[in-house]
C-alpha cells in the first residue's frame, strides 16, 4: 500500500515538504513505515526511534497501519 506520512517542523524543513509518500507492505507496522521514510526522504535525519502518531495518537513501533490511517512523524515537541 501507499501512505502519505505527515512531516512537521524540522522534519518538514529538511524534506522540503509537509508529507512524504512511501510504499509499504499491506500489513506494515509503524517500524516499516519509518524505515520507508528513511529511504524516501534521506534528508530528514530521523533519530533511532522517532515518535510516530497514528490517527493523532502516539503509536509504538509494532502498531499496524492501514491505508486509511493518518500517519505522522513527530519531531521532539517544544510546546509551552
Amino acid at each position: 500500500m501507499q501512505l502519505d506520512v505527515l512531516l512537521f517542523a524540522s522534519y518538514a524543513d529538511a524534506a522540503g515538504a509537509t508529507s512524504v509518500r512511501v510504499s509499504v507492505s499491506d500489513d506494515a507496522r509503524v517500524s516499516e513505515v519509518v524505515q520507508a521514510v528513511r529511504t524516501a526522504a534521506p534528508a530528514v535525519h530521523l533519530p533511532a526511534r522517532p515518535l510516530v502518531a497514528v490517527n493523532h495518537r502516539y503509536a509504538g513501533a509494532d502498531v499496524r497501519v492501514t491505508p486509511s490511517d493518518e500517519v505522522a512523524l513527530i519531531p521532539p515537541v517544544a510546546g509551552g
Partner: protein, 164 residues
Amino acid sequence: MRTGLVGTPIDIAAIAADVASPANGALSLFVGTVRDTNDGRPVDGIEYNAYAPMAERELAEIAREAAAQFGTTHIVIEHRTGYLALGEASVAIAVAHPRRANAMDATRWIIEALKQRVPIWKLEHYTDGTRQWVEHGRGQGAGRPGVVRGAEGRGSSDREVTDA
C-alpha cells in the same frame, strides 16, 4: 474544562473567570511567555507550529487526566499558534479547586505533560535574522532528538533553554 489552540492573544483574565466558581477557594494559573534570549542569543519572536488535530486531542486528554488525578473539572488550557512577539503569552493554564495544593499541583502537572506530549514546535527568530527550531531541554546542537522524557515531570526543576 476547555482546551485548545488559539490564533489570537491569550486573555488571562478571561481564562481565570472561566474556571472560577464559588465552590472553589483556590485558583492557580501558569502563563508561558516569549523570552528575549535563548542560550545567550537575542530573540525577536517565536513562531509556534502545531499538528493541530493531534495537539487539540492531546490537550483535551491532558485535561481529562488532570481532572481524574486532581479532582476538579475547572480546568482551562490554551496554547497559542502563529508568530508571537517578545512577552506574548504562548500558553496559559488555569485550574480552580477547593484546595490550593491541588490547584497548584494540577497546574504544574499540566504544563509538564503539555511540554512532553503535545505536538507543537517553535521556530525561534533571532535578531540577527537567523531562525532555528527549538527542542526543549536541549542546548543548541546537543541532545537526543525524538526521545520523550520521563512521563512524570511533577516536582522536577528542569532547566528550560527557551521560554519557561
